[in-house]
């Protein structure tokens, strides 16, 4: 019973999460590695 109640409260919390507003300023530090913003020309020495 205790486990069931805990499970139910967990579901309620998860559903509650959907009320949050989306942030349009998200960034990504690890997953994808975008190339540098600084131009890299062919056959040049890299900094």
């Amino acid at each position: 019973m205790k486990k069931l109640l805990a499970g139910l409260s967990l579901v309620a919390l998860l559903v509650g999460g959907f009320a949050f507003v989306q942030d349009n300023n998200a960034t990504d530090l690890t997953m994808d590695r975008e190339p540098t913003i600084y131009g890299t020309s062919s056959t040049t020495v890299q900094f």
Binding site: L14, Q22, N24, N25, D28, T30, T36, G39, T40, S41
Partner: protein, 422 residues
Amino acid sequence: MIEIGSFIKLQRTKQEMTLGELSEGIVSVSYLSKIENQKTQASPEIIQLLCNRLGIEVDNNQEEAIKEKCQQWYSMLFEVSDKDEVIATYKEIQEMMDKNLSDSLMMFEIHKIRYYLILGEYDEALKKINELSEISGTFDNLQQYYWFKFRGNYNSSSGNQNQAMYYYKLAEERISRLEIEENEIADLQYIIAITQSKLRNTLEAIDYANKSLNIFMKQYNFIRCAQCHNVLGISYRRIKLYDKAIKNFNLALHLGKLDKNKQLIQLTNQNLGYLYSTKGDSVEAIKHYKEIIFDCEVDIVERLASVSSLVREYYNIKNYQEARNSIKYGLKLIEEVQDMEPYKIFYYVIYTYNYLLSEKFDKFETLVAKEFIPYLKLHKDYASIVIYAELLAKHYEKLFKYKDAAKYYKEANFAYEQISNI
């Protein structure tokens, strides 16, 4: 012609002279202030006297030579080339600028922002931005274009992508009023694509990457094309168009190999590894990550990024022995990095799994809850919050600590909401 008032103000502040020191015996302090802020037109005699005190010759004998040298230097800053050469040319121009009143001065000052950024001197770049802010109202359209672009670059480098985008858009607006070379337009579009990608605005990233790719292809600029294909690969993966993503990454790999550009090849391998990881193909993911980790020609940050990914991949497929081996190697790399601050994320990832696998659960809980998740929140890296909040929640769930588990599942869910439109 450069506005003389702005020029005098620039030279005076550079030489750390006060208004009083420069004006003494020539004009009143308030009149000098009016000259500097272009609220009055001073006579040629007064200008001559002020320039004499500043040690500047009011002639333009060297104008053509300065202009030519500046163009050469701007090209070096556009496509990053030899560091020593960039610095030497900068010093040469600065010497000429100190002795001459040149039309090229303002553009040179604006390009210093980019120069400092490329050298990694971010404080100097900010100082230059603040200094130029006072006279930015006098910039013409072309000067405004670079002013906004480089301010965007500064924000990109400091991780403030939203602010960076704001400036890039202002720069983009100036393009229609100017006659700018195609490769400069392509460069701005490429930077916007990268920034949109970092902000997870996937469709915009695809749009801008394609625009710049079209121009770079016409110019046979293989490296820039490969960089665009990387952005396209990342974007298509995010919308689960895996075939298109793989095609773009393979093109990037091919172009990188043609140019023997190790950085680019390994960056693409990292992205391909992550693609296969999200598809659930751990064997392929590990294959790509492993290409990078022992490649000493590649920046240590890229090796750290792939070790972190490798640790996570091995942990997910429950190959704990290999995960431990990768952690060991990751800790060795961390020791080699002098300034860990910019790469703190990898430190957290490696230590998170290290504590988890060595069953130091107290340390694991403290690190993830008190340091790692707050760090990710600060940087708004919601994708990583989903992963590590869920990892912590699952850990609490296993220990029957349902209240704590619910708290972190909720954190994960909230973070997920930030990066997905349901």
